[in-house]
Amino acid sequence: MRDVAIVAAGMTPFGELWHASLRDLCVEAAMEALKNAKTDQVDALFVGNMSGGQFVGQEHLGPLFADQLGMSGVAAMRVESACASGGTALRAAFAEIASGLSETALVVGVEKMTDATDVTEILATAADQENEVYHGITFPGLYALIARAHMQAYGTTEEDLSWVSVKNHKQGALNPKAQFRREVTVEEVMSSSMVSDPLRLLHCSPVSDGAAAVLLCPLKEAKKYTDRPVKILASGLATDSMALADRRELASLDAVERSARKAYKMAGMGPQNMQVAEVHDCFAIAEICCVEALGLVEKGKAGSAARTGYTALGGCIPVNTSGGLKSKGHPVGATGVAQAIEIFEQLREEAGERQVEGARIGLTQNMGGSGASSVVHIFQKV
C-alpha cells in the first residue's frame, strides 16, 4: 500500500451562506485547495455529502462538481455515511491513492442546508426510519437518550455538558471560518432553551452551509505540491447498530471505539500518542462519549474533561481546537473534511492563535447518525 499525503486544503466559512448555492460552495473550497497546490489537474474527485437529494433536490454531485470545476472527464463519485460523509469520502480517496488507481484525488465535503425547509426531518433520515423516526424521535432526541444514559451510568451532569460548549466556543472564537465566533458562559448555555431534555440549544451544533476540500497524492510525490505535506498514517472505518434500542450499552459509542481501534492498529500507535484531536461534537454529549471511546480520556471520566481544561487548548489533549461542530458549524457532509483541515493546519503550524505547540501527530473522528458509523484518521507531520 502506497503512503498517502494531504498536500493542500481549502474551505469556505461555515454559516448561513444565503448567497451561495451547493455548487458555489463546492467550487469555492475546491479552487482554494487547487490554488494552494498550484495545480489544476486531478485524477479523481470524491464528494462527501449527506443529502443533496433531500436538501436541494440534487443527486449525482460527482459529475456536477467536476463540471463546475472545469474538469469534466475525471473520475468522480459521491460517498455518503450521513454526518460522517466527509470523513468517509476521505477514506475512499485514501484507498484510491493507496491502491495506485489515481495519482491525485480531490476530496470535497459539502452541505447546503439553509435552502431546505424541513431540516429536522431530513437529518432524521440518518436514523432508523421504521423503528425510531416513526415514533417521533429527532436527532437531538437520540443524543439526549444517550446523554441520560451517560448521566445515569457515570454521574455526568448538565453542567459537564455545558462546559463542552463553553470550551468549544472559546476555541471557535479564534477561528476565522467559524459560524459562531463568540464565547459563551456556562450560565448562558444552561439557560438556553431546552430542545430535548437534557440537551439545550447551546448543547447542539447549528444548521450550516459550507464546504471543505483537501488534495491527496502519494507521499513520495507530495513535494511537487507543498514543502509541508501531512501524511495520513491510518484510516479506520466502523459501524454499530442503527437503532439505539439495539445497543446493549447506551452510554458508549461502539462504532467510535472500533474505528479508533482499527486506526491505532494501522498507525502502530495508541491514544497516548495523539497531540491534538478533532472529534464529532454534534451535541455536547457526543464529545464526551467520543473522547472516551477514542481512549483520550478514561471511560466515564470525560464529563469533567472540558471543565478542568484537560481537553482544552493548553490542556493534555486539546480537542476541537477549531471550535468543533458546535462553534465552527456543522454542514454535515463538509464536517469530516473540515476536521482533517484543522489537523492539517495544526501539524503545519498554521493554526494561528489556536496552535497546539509542537503537535506532530493528530487525529480526526467523524460520526454518522446517532453513532451507527464512525471514521477515524490519524495524521503525521512529515
Binding site: E130, E132, Y134, G136, L145, A147, S196
Partner: protein, 130 residues
C-alpha cells in the same frame, strides 16, 4: 389505502411480533433474518408482552412537523421482560416525570397522520404501569 411500506410493518407495529433466535436465544424486535448476536437464521416467533421498563428517556420539545401538535412528548427506550428493546413515546403522564427504571405498559395508539389527508400511523406507546 395503506401502502405496502406501511403494511409490511404491521406485525411489529400492531402486534409487537418479535422472533427468538434458536441459536442463542436473543429476542429480535422487529423480527429480522440474521441474528445480530450469533448470525443464526433460525427463529421462532414470539410476541412481546405488553409491558416493560424504561432504560433511558427524553422529552422532545422541538418536534418534526408531523408531531408538532403533540410536543412536548416523552420518548424512551423500553426493555420488555423478553429482553427486547424498542423505542416508544411515553404518554398519559407529565413527560418530565419519565425516568429510567420506570415500569410501563405498551398500549396500541394512534401515533400521527402522514401527509395531508394521508394515512393514519398506528403503533405502541408506553404508559406508566398500574
Amino acid at each position: 389505502m395503506p401502502s405496502p411500506r406501511y403494511w409490511r410493518e404491521v406485525p411489529s407495529r400492531y402486534r409487537l411480533e418479535a422472533a427468538r433466535c434458536l441459536g442463542c436465544g436473543k429476542v429480535a424486535f422487529p423480527a429480522r433474518r440474521v441474528c445480530p448476536h450469533c448470525r443464526g437464521e433460525r427463529w421462532e416467533n414470539t410476541a412481546l408482552s405488553q409491558q416493560g421498563k424504561i432504560i433511558t428517556a427524553t422529552v422532545v420539545r422541538v418536534a418534526p412537523a408531523e408531531f408538532t401538535m403533540e410536543a412536548p412528548y416523552a420518548v424512551a427506550v423500553v426493555e420488555t421482560p423478553e429482553g427486547a428493546r424498542l423505542m416508544a413515546q411515553v404518554a398519559d403522564c407529565d413527560p418530565a416525570t419519565v425516568q429510567p427504571g420506570m415500569e410501563v405498559s405498551l398500549e396500541f395508539r394512534l401515533l400521527r397522520q402522514e401527509g395531508h389527508g394521508g394515512i393514519l400511523c398506528y403503533g405502541h406507546k408506553a404508559v406508566p404501569a398500574g
